[in-house]
Symmetry: C2
Subunit: 258 residues, 2 copies
């Protein structure tokens, strides 16, 4: 499984991906799911992938190949907007699935794949896209300033509660790590290391590129203190007093169902 | 969508289900997903259902019909073990799906359904089962003392962190409500009222049967204080200090990825 998050804030962007890949529980390995295309002063683009590894790798390889050949139709280094880059990646994904999906299907292997792609190109604003398995895509807006792909649900509540466009870069990075901690606790197929990148608006180069390993002191602190904090808040909530039904009815104005 | 949780503790059991049903977002209604079979001093059995409403209702109706006819092969009031009751419900589910699934399939309607069933029958220990769409089932164990069906992921982390067989009944009920609060926050198709039942070991009748409405003071307190508590714990965690890369490397012993 996979977990990736991309957030676009007023002040910048945060990207994070896990790196566990499994083809069955007896074949687990580590692959980075984050790819950076960066040319300082011109563009900083981060791509994160989820789904069938051969499909996502091939799609990104095709994008790179087009770019090396300096194909004017498909050069990630020449594209004038991130919209264009998202379209290139969607097209590459379609080409790979057209070639491979039918063969995978013969063995009931899922060929679905998706991407989060974001960053900034000179003379354009920061942008964040989510590309679906069919190659179509959507863009993040201030109302929905983040995208997740892969195992998204365990880690979503804390992002929902905390992140708005006004959140600071480092606070959003902290939130992303709490979100990963919850996800890894409930799904062992999401695992360390985490690749984390942050981008400051208009910098046209990444601010932080960090691989978080098991030895990472900051992440371990988050893990421990968040768990302790949750248990503390929980223990401070009063238990219900429903044993005493008379008092309860008045106290909580509830209603007994039949 | 649906969310149901059943927990078996050393001291008793807790059951909770939401009651929102939707056939498309423009057809939302309220149905209880919890059914109680109770004969004080003899048995207390709670059934919660998830999936296609016509399938789950029909399966439970068939179970009741068999019981009214005093069919010795299928009487929930005469069964000597909960294992037997789980098998009866699994069989009813299979019969309904054999009859209806092919017609539903013609319109691409999902006929899948599942149940949590638990409680205690005289001369037996408390037991908790999860019945799958195919009619087969598993039983909870001390290592895995709870089952969830429906929209399970948003509300799972807090149960994972808090509940063990040694947890008290009221603390488990509190945990279940926190879990529902997280789920309803992230998935609007899970909604109030919540039906909540608790059972004290060997009592052979339910202790609490409660319908939690929007006006429920206890649930509203949980909602507010849990949200505030989470944000407080989050705000108390220090932000990462990665901007200052020199210090950070030493401080957190991380590693920059390429």
């Amino acid at each position: 499984m996979t977990y990736c998050v991309g957030i676009v804030l007023d002040s910048g962007m945060v990207f994070a991906s896990d790196s566990r890949t499994n083809a069955g529980v007896d074949y687990i390995s580590t692959y980075s799911k984050m790819k950076v295309f960066e040319k300082a002063g011109d563009r900083a683009i981060v791509v994160m992938s989820s789904g069938n590894l051969s499909v996502t790798q091939n799609a990104i390889n095709m994008l790179e190949q087009h770019s090396r050949r300096d194909d004017p139709q498909g050069n990630i280094w020449a594209a004038e907007s991130l919209f264009e880059v998202a379209r290139l990646l969607g097209t590459s994904l379609r080409e790979v699935r057209e070639r491979d999906a039918i063969y995978l299907q013969q063995n009931n292997i899922d060929s679905s794949a998706s991407f989060i792609i974001g960053g900034q190109i000179k003379n354009e604003r920061m942008r964040l896209f989510r590309i679906y398995t069919e190659g179509n895509f959507i863009e993040a807006t201030p109302e929905t300033p983040f995208f997740q792909i892969g195992e998204t649900k365990y880690g979503r509540p804390i992002i929902d509660r905390v992140v708005t466009p006004a959140t600071s870069l480092m606070e959003a990075a902290k939130c992303v790590l709490v979100s990963f901690d919850s996800t890894m606790r409930s799904n062992i197929s999401v695992g360390l290391p985490i690749d984390l990148a942050s981008y400051e608006r208009d910098a046209l180069q990444l601010k932080v590129k960090r691989r978080i390993l098991e030895s990472d002191a900051y992440f371990n602190m988050i893990h421990t203190r968040w768990g302790e904090g949750l248990r503390h808040v929980f223990s401070q909530l009063p238990d219900p007093d429903w044993g005493n039904e008379g008092a309860t009815q008045a106290q909580y104005q509830g209603e007994i169902f039949k």
